[in-house]
Subunit: 173 residues, 2 copies
Amino acid sequence: MKPTSLDFAILGTLQQEPQSGYGVRKIFETTALGNYSSSPGSIYPALKRLEKLQLITKTKTINDKTTFELTEEGTSTLKNWLLSPVTIQDVKRSSEELILRFAFMGNLLSSSQISKFLEELEATILDYLKELDNYHQSEGNNMPITGRLAFEYGIQSYQTILAWCISAKKFFT
Amino acid sequence: MKPTSLDFAILGTLQQEPQSGYGVRKIFETTALGNYSSSPGSIYPALKRLEKLQLITKTKTINDKTTFELTEEGTSTLKNWLLSPVTIQDVKRSSEELILRFAFMGNLLSSSQISKFLEELEATILDYLKELDNYHQSEGNNMPITGRLAFEYGIQSYQTILAWCISAKKFFT
DNA sequence: AATGTCATGTAACTAGTTACATGATTTA
DNA sequence: TAAATCATGTAACTAGTTACATGACATT
């Protein structure tokens, strides 16, 4: 029963500052933290889930607002997620989630832990890029033009992450 | 009852070449068409769905293999999807899906239709980038460092698509 | 007084995951 | 002959979507 990607997005948000359900929804709606659903049908059940798992607790209920904050277990769950190794599957499946992880590191990890994450990410992407390059070299000419261009977009987007990693590392020496 | 993203990935794959369910699974597993699940629990039910909607039909059953191909309705559904306008929501939610669309255009659309798509995409991303830039200008300094860097990654990844659009257009004059 | 936003929820549905199951065929 | 891969499926579960519902409070 491991938390979902949305769960971690909520945990990270609450870690930055305790929020009501409505507060979380507004943050997901307005900030670029988006592509996470802000609909009540996803947020409120998720909060219940997290509460049942004892990762968050209600703190105070002033007028209408119920404010949630992380429990100790919630904080350590979040931290473990931030510290978990970067796998090639992570890279293949969703770079978005890796960037989300990074975004939440500021408050919880040390500079050297953050820089280690970036180096792991860099290495993993380099590996994957080699794989993609090989495929491109051998199959590129057999692919229909739009297919090939789409594939090349993929390569370029990984190169973008790579370049971003390298420039981001400078902030965490 | 509109087809899902996975449905379109299957339709596009079958349009390129009729396949068995297993064939589709292998393509999703091995090609970079990935992040679409290739598990039997997603593919076989999806094929049933598409068959019920009369977008695909079984053609022949040689030994074990049941081969599916697009019906006329399937082809036109796919084509309509390819031709549908590029919205800012598409861009925000998933560039991946837009690139998937592009990848399938080769066989079904004319050069001018493809180039129109690229121009629409370019314009939409430009709009969105302006929005992101404004946000960055006004809020960038208030954001925690990892949050800001993550945001900047977002900007860079849209710039990558933009550059890709521009270079891809050259193939469809 | 009416509209909009704050604030929280539920109910019905859909798609996708994980895990299991089966049998045939191919390869080591 | 054992193991791997071909080939297709199902069953139980989970998360998320859409749509609806409610009431308080603030604004015009």
